[in-house]
Symmetry: C2
Subunit: 190 residues, 2 copies
């Protein structure tokens, strides 16, 4: 149990041992509840066949929501990114989860990601804009460039997230790459 728990992100072996002891002491109450909760989740969660989101329904709540804009499609690396963007409550379109990023180091090739499914969705029509919402990391940006090339064949607008100062960012504490991008992409004051 300690080994299984310590694989959770944010939980080292030491805190895992502490959690195990805590659960063993409460094996009639907390442990049972945790088992029930995990079991319920295991049975109920499915991957959305349209976008790759994880939800209790397939298609997921976002894909099934008729109020969301079919014409804008936001491509993300992981389900966690989809959830993060949706918490920001600004994008009202649909999503597409790649399931990772291209990586020579980790041996992740285009065919390992849900790229064909993305192209099929775009080819099907009805999409005006594809937002490439990759992480601002080297691998994320490599993936975005690759996707932009593949999407060129379709009559859609291809956009990417803005890069620049994060909220609360102070110039003196930011790295030079971010400052360079913030200057390069400076825009008119509205």
């Amino acid at each position: 149990m300690t080994a299984a728990l310590s694989r959770l992100p944010g939980l080292g072996p030491r805190s895992a041992r502490r959690a195990v002891l805590w659960l063993i002491k409460r094996r009639e109450t907390a442990l049972v509840q945790l088992l029930d909760a995990l079991g319920a989740v295991q049975g109920a969660l499915v991957e959305c066949e349209v976008c790759g989101n994880i939800d209790t329904h397939d298609p997921c709540a976002i894909c099934a929501d008729p109020r969301r804009d079919m014409r804008a499609l936001c491509v993300v690396e992981e389900v966690a990114d989809l959830w993060a963007l949706d918490r920001a409550r600004l994008f009202t379109g649909k999503y597409h989860v790649l399931g990772g990023r291209l990586s020579a180091l980790d041996g992740v090739r285009p065919e390992d990601l849900a790229i064909d499914r993305l192209l099929a969705r775009v080819e099907q029509g009805g999409v005006d804009e594809v937002v490439l919402a990759m992480n601002a990391t080297l691998e994320g940006q490599t993936t975005a460039h690759y996707l932009a090339e593949r999407l060129e064949a379709f009559p859609v607008r291809i956009t990417q997230l803005a890069h620049g100062l994060p909220v609360g960012g102070e110039l003196d504490y930011l790295d030079e790459g971010t400052l360079a991008q913030a200057i390069r992409a400076r825009r008119p004051v509205a």
Copy 2:
């Protein structure tokens, strides 16, 4: 000496005491060198009367450099921000240091900042673009808005630094405000 040293940013009272002891032990060597260096700086450094930068010359090396573009003027809060932006080596124009930011909390009003000197520089002519490079904080952005209004009277392009994902930024770890700005200001893939 401990009190004076402990006022340096990044040096608490404890490390200041350690530094003082270290200096006392080396009062014939390191302390003398430090005194010389500080004395030289105290005598040599002046504030540039044009832009507010701190340098050994007035006007400063940036204002005096004929290769820098007179037509672009980048307004920053502090000298530290000027140095940070210039390290990014992307902006080739001149700078203007405000000497702070508008702040109701700290009682900083427009007349406490070098705003009149900025307007005088713009009025003098030859400036095509004013880049408002304030920090992405509430007070920084308030200052930027105030300056944009004051600058409206002049025939110059007013721009601001791009806001969005910082370099290396992963969606799942960024705050919702930054994600919202990154989506709102998304731009076409070149």
